[in-house]
Symmetry: C2
Subunit: 191 residues, 2 copies
DNA sequence: CTCTGTCTGTACCGATTGGTACAAAGCCCG
DNA sequence: CGGGCTTTGTACCAATCGGTACAGACAGAG
């Protein structure tokens, strides 16, 4: 056992990794107690609502982290291009270049979505909107379309990188969306 | 040996939808018996290996369908642009414009991946390669990069469409990758 | 018809599930 | 020290898990 967490925040972080590995249904209480080093007593003391409350806490923590370090700069930084560069950098670090999964996206794909629909929807709505704002503030057109595609590409790259067991997928995707986000001309070419 | 049990194919299709809805761990035997109408006896007659064999059969069926109706034309159709158009059309239909999930992608995101790593990797490898082949045959550059991004964008759009409960995400993504796949120039060279 | 092998419903299995009860243990403050 | 809170381990629970055993229903072939 690695380290027995003494605080709820540590427990949240540990539980998050278990959900990442096994999914919501697959994360059994016994796996959680084993990996966190916490007994059921402590676990249900921190999270009286059981697994559901654990997952809610994890999602809230993820949402908070992204809001603080990615979404807010995207909206508020006077230099929108710097904020976009920061997003790319932080995203690469957070997802370990595609070796780590997006728990929000993973939850969205199975029945777990219905339990946390609001949080999941809110997370992606915030990301898309914040990024679109930065793109628009940088004076480029098609801000919403570009932002949506960038957010979606990140999620897809996580799926594909893990499927192919190739982090290069994630790196290539980041380079591409940076280009697409910052390219001056609009993409639409009718005919 | 005797006749290929036609009922089994129906069972595979029904089981696939249950996996889509609940994930591998979340799909309980009781849910499967309830939704398929098959008792445990029939189920274990068709799939002596239990859930694992059911999932393997489902993945094989999906892989076969895509190989037949998408990958093969991409590689063999003398008109590669028509094959790409067909891929886009079939993909939209298969995933119900983003209302249906890619089971292969969903399995890739949690611990289920390890059980079926070969199948999952093979599926995406085949898709990427077939699409890259069509792009290259159509005389365009950066075939592998464009193909990889298109495949990844489809997966990401499924995640995002479901998260936001907005099929429009999928439609917009299809339009964008069609443009990117067929645009004559590389992106950093505006004409 | 009977025979034969393919199907299928049901009862049952041990193990594990998420969750509760509760008492002992630690801890802080007086 | 002692009392009162928070924290924890353990025993326990009904329900469900995936899976097995098996007897009978069912067909097709003779």
């Amino acid at each position: 056992m690695s380290r027995p967490p003494r605080e709820r925040a540590d427990a949240v972080a540990a539980v998050a990794e278990i959900f990442r590995e096994f999914g919501f249904e697959g994360a059994s209480l016994s796996a959680i107690t084993a990996r966190t080093g916490l007994g059921k007593g402590s676990l249900y003391h921190f999270f009286p609502g059981g697994k559901e409350e654990m997952a809610a806490a994890v999602l809230a923590e993820i949402d908070g982290w992204f809001t603080r370090t990615v979404f807010a700069p995207l909206r508020d930084d006077p230099d929108p291009e710097a904020a976009i560069a920061r997003m790319l950098r932080e995203t690469d670090a957070y997802f370990r270049s595609g070796r780590r999964i997006c728990l929000v996206g993973a939850f969205a794909l199975d029945g777990t979505r219905d339990r946390f629909a609001a949080r999941i929807g809110g997370y992606f709505t915030a990301w898309r909107r914040a990024l679109a704002d930065a793109v628009a503030r940088s004076g480029r057109g098609e801000a919403m379309e570009r932002a949506e595609h960038a957010v979606l590409a990140i999620q897809g790259a996580l799926v594909l990188a893990r499927s192919l067991d190739d982090p290069g997928v994630f790196a290539r995707m980041l380079a591409r969306i940076e280009r697409d986000l910052l390219s001056p001309e609009t993409h639409d070419r009718p005919n």
